[in-house]
């Protein structure tokens, strides 16, 4: 019954799917308008018994969003792009300052503390999940 309903919803609203991930504490670090990048952080939990893979993210508020990891190498911190973020079954991935983060490039409008920004997460099976992120200090 549930499968039929989901299939029906998929037919009626392409792109619709039940949320795959439980995401909490998501926020964007505000910066002055002169800086054309922002970092986004969150805690992602995969409650399912299957692996979930995030293949891309997008938002009307930014030109592009990538997943990056800050790593220490040769006495320096460098950022590496993570092309696909894999979240194992029943596990949690943290995006925190100094580690994994969303690299959000070229905000269309200067961000303000208190803004809410909608992000679209795209998975490897073609389904999507919406996420509301708040701009914080």
């Amino acid at each position: 019954m549930m499968i039929r309903l989901t299939l029906l919803l998929l037919l009626v609203f392409p792109g619709f799917a039940l949320a795959q991930l439980e995401i909490r504490d998501s926020w964007i670090k505000n910066l002055p308008p002169s800086v054309p990048v922002r970092a986004g952080y969150m805690t992602i939990h995969n409650p399912q018994s299957k692996t979930v893979s995030i293949v891309s993210l997008s938002s009307d508020a930014f030109d592009s969003i990538e997943i990056h990891q800050t790593i220490a190498q040769d006495g320096m911190m460098r950022m590496e792009r993570i092309p696909i973020l894999i979240i194992e079954p029943d596990s949690t991935v943290q995006l925190t300052p100094g580690g994994l983060h969303l690299m959000m490039m070229n905000p269309g409008e200067p961000t303000q503390i208190g803004d809410s920004i909608e992000i679209l997460i795209l998975f490897d099976d073609g389904s999507e999940q919406k996420l509301e992120m708040w701009v914080k200090k």
Partner: protein, 206 residues
């Protein structure tokens, strides 16, 4: 290498080891919880020259007379730099002794002089704390200072006019004493409250 030269090298290494441990044990007046205190091994900075976000020259004379914390990064840095400047601001706000606050200066030095000018730096540091000073210089002048502090930095993926290149850089915060000597180091991750206590200890002790 013959036997006698091996013996000489071994002897020198032994003497070196003893001198270092003697030096460390006899000249360690302050124990820091969040960083390394160099004690008598503090060493003078070279004759460097940067320009601060007011357009004023910043050199050894500028640093003389105050304790300075210096962090190296770039304003296009999304993750480490905002997090570290926030930490430094939280640290500054956590210092309770007004004499300590008065004695400490906090500098953000951009190692991306092509994109960061005085105006960009002014807006950037002010966003985190109006008491902070931003500074930079052409790369040659920057590396004179950074190499003497052991601060590594490197511009990466810069092809032609590509404006979105990366700058790899050390995440350490450098401590400079009122004699403009490199006096200590705070390595990441940084705890603002522990650093506030350390600075209080340093300023009140000296």
């Amino acid at each position: 290498m013959n036997k006698s030269s091996i013996a000489i090298v071994a002897l020198l290494a032994l003497i070196g080891g003893f001198s270092i441990s003697w030096y460390l044990s006899s000249n360690k007046p302050i124990e820091l919880e969040a960083g390394l205190w160099f004690g008598e091994q503090a060493r003078a900075l070279p004759d460097f020259e940067l320009v601060d976000h007011h357009g004023q020259v910043m050199d050894r004379t500028t640093l003389s007379g105050n304790w300075s914390l210096m962090f190296f990064g770039y304003t296009h840095c999304p993750d480490i730099c905002p997090a570290t400047l926030q930490t430094l601001s939280d640290m500054a706000n956590a210092i309770e002794d007004p004499n300590v606050t008065k004695a400490v200066r906090i500098y953000f030095v951009s190692v991306d002089p092509e994109r960061d000018n005085a105006e960009t730096l002014a807006t950037y540091v002010n966003y985190f704390n109006p008491g902070f000073t931003g500074a930079t210089a052409v790369m040659e002048k920057l590396t004179l200072l950074t190499s003497s502090l052991g601060i590594a930095h490197n511009i990466r993926n810069k092809a032609g006019d590509n404006p979105s290149y990366d700058v790899d850089h050390s995440s350490a915060i450098v401590l400079i004493n009122p004699q403009a000597e490199f006096a200590g180091l705070f390595s990441a991750p940084h705890d603002p409250l522990a650093m506030a206590r350390d600075l209080t200890r340093i300023v009140e002790y000296n």
